[in-house]
Symmetry: C2
DNA sequence: CATTCAATTTCGTGG
DNA sequence: CCACGAAGTTGAATG
């Protein structure tokens, strides 16, 4: 009962040499959290520089290096699946996280003592419901509920200009291209739909297009009308799990 | 010299009650790192559920709550700028991070003892070079270097279908709509350009379009040609800062 | 490997 | 507050 639920492999205040040692020992074998004063330099797709400040450096088991500040969900600097090397220089541990393709380099210079914690994390992911796929499935299962008189022809159809979510056929035999968005549809979504409709149209098919989403922006709606396309509001069938309101 | 560069306010192995206390005390006042065994539930724009595993829960000073696993730059679950409440239930501390607009709720059930670390992080951000703005500036400063015989007319021009990066005028007085991409231009970028060109064209203006980017995908290039648009490769003027290579 | 598209995208900016 | 577009986007899926 009193057994360890979380095994913290190390938690200590360390100097540069010790920090370098800890990182070398545990990198890619466990998750390393470093609270430290550091400056950052990045060179690759773009380049950036950040002066010295107290930050949190997170080194994950897949090689991810992320440097966090006091705000934001996203790190201020990062390197996904990096190769890491640490060298000790003066009173600093300099962490170099590199990556080919694209070729880029993140350098974190950690000055003075740092607080380092090491632990093994799980990697089980999650089950997500309510993504775009779920909506596509919903429509595919009963197209006429959303667009009157239609039947399913195909789904996830590749074209040279992208993958069409759904293709239906209406009462008069005309194809209906359907683009689905899980959130508010914007002008890009409308344009995506137009791209597909235009493609099939050029093949000589009688074709029309419908954008299905719970909401739509004004510009997107105007764009659809301007190009002879339609918007259909998506409303989930029923409360799948009771409980709310 | 031996003064603290990083002030770690707390680092301790704590039970549910103590953890709840620590979070209540420091939330939004400092950054809290919790290594723990937890399960997660999310309900909002979508919904998700993740079983028990060892994870890292990060609570930042702006209210951000992020739950990290062993891999990935991004958290497995999160809530930006959340309101947080912690209650103790059985042998667990249950953290509820909510948010209005959109209305959503993230629940992290932390079972048993956890390792918690508290520290104040900086929030200075960084200076980034080589973003899209830099490229737009570069072109705006000397349009004819990229597109022969052109002069600057306007930049960041709003249309009903989005904001145009640059408008130039060529030798024959025709408008040239320019869309800029900092990386490889894809078919979406080509479409974006077409949208703008079409808009001005419908207004009765003599207009053409150019996509400027360091690279372009084959399909995007084909799409441009199919619609009478052009691609111009962007090459940075000179090594802005010496030192590399 | 390139290409495309979704994402609980997040994040900034402008109206 | 909405709306749009960039991001060093990341990440997955597909050819």
């Amino acid at each position: 009962m009193a057994s360890k639920l979380v095994e913290v492999l190390l938690a200590a205040d360390v100097g540069p040499e010790e920090l370098a040692e800890v990182i070398s020992r545990w990198f890619r074998r466990a998750t390393i959290v470093v609270l430290c004063r550091c400056s950052i330099e990045y060179r690759g797709r773009a380049s950036s520089r950040a002066g010295e400040a107290v930050r949190l450096v997170l080194l994950k088991q897949d090689g991810t290096v992320a440097v966090h500040e006091a705000s934001g969900r996203d790190p201020v600097n990062w390197q996904p699946r990096a190769d890491v090397r640490v060298v000790v220089a003066e009173d600093s541990a300099v962490l170099r996280a590199t990556r080919d393709s694209p070729r880029e380099e993140l350098t974190v210079s950690i000055r003075g003592r740092a607080w380092v914690t090491v632990a093994k994390l799980g990697d089980v992911g999650l089950q997500l419901f309510g993504g775009e796929d779920d909506i596509v499935n919903d429509i595919a299962g009963n197209p006429s509920r959303f667009i009157e008189g239609t039947t399913l022809v195909a789904r996830e159809v590749g074209t040279p200009y992208g993958r069409v979510d759904l293709i239906l056929r209406d009462g008069s035999g005309r194809l209906v291209i359907v683009e689905v968005k899980r959130g508010r549809a914007d002008v890009d979504a409308a344009h995506q739909l137009r791209r597909y409709v235009e493609y099939y149209s050029r093949l000589g098919l009688e074709v029309t297009g419908v954008l299905v989403a719970p909401e739509i922006s004004g510009q997107a709606l105007k764009y659809l009308k301007d190009h002879g396309l339609r918007y259909v509001r998506y409303v989930a069938r029923a409360t799948p799990t009771a409980g709310s309101s």
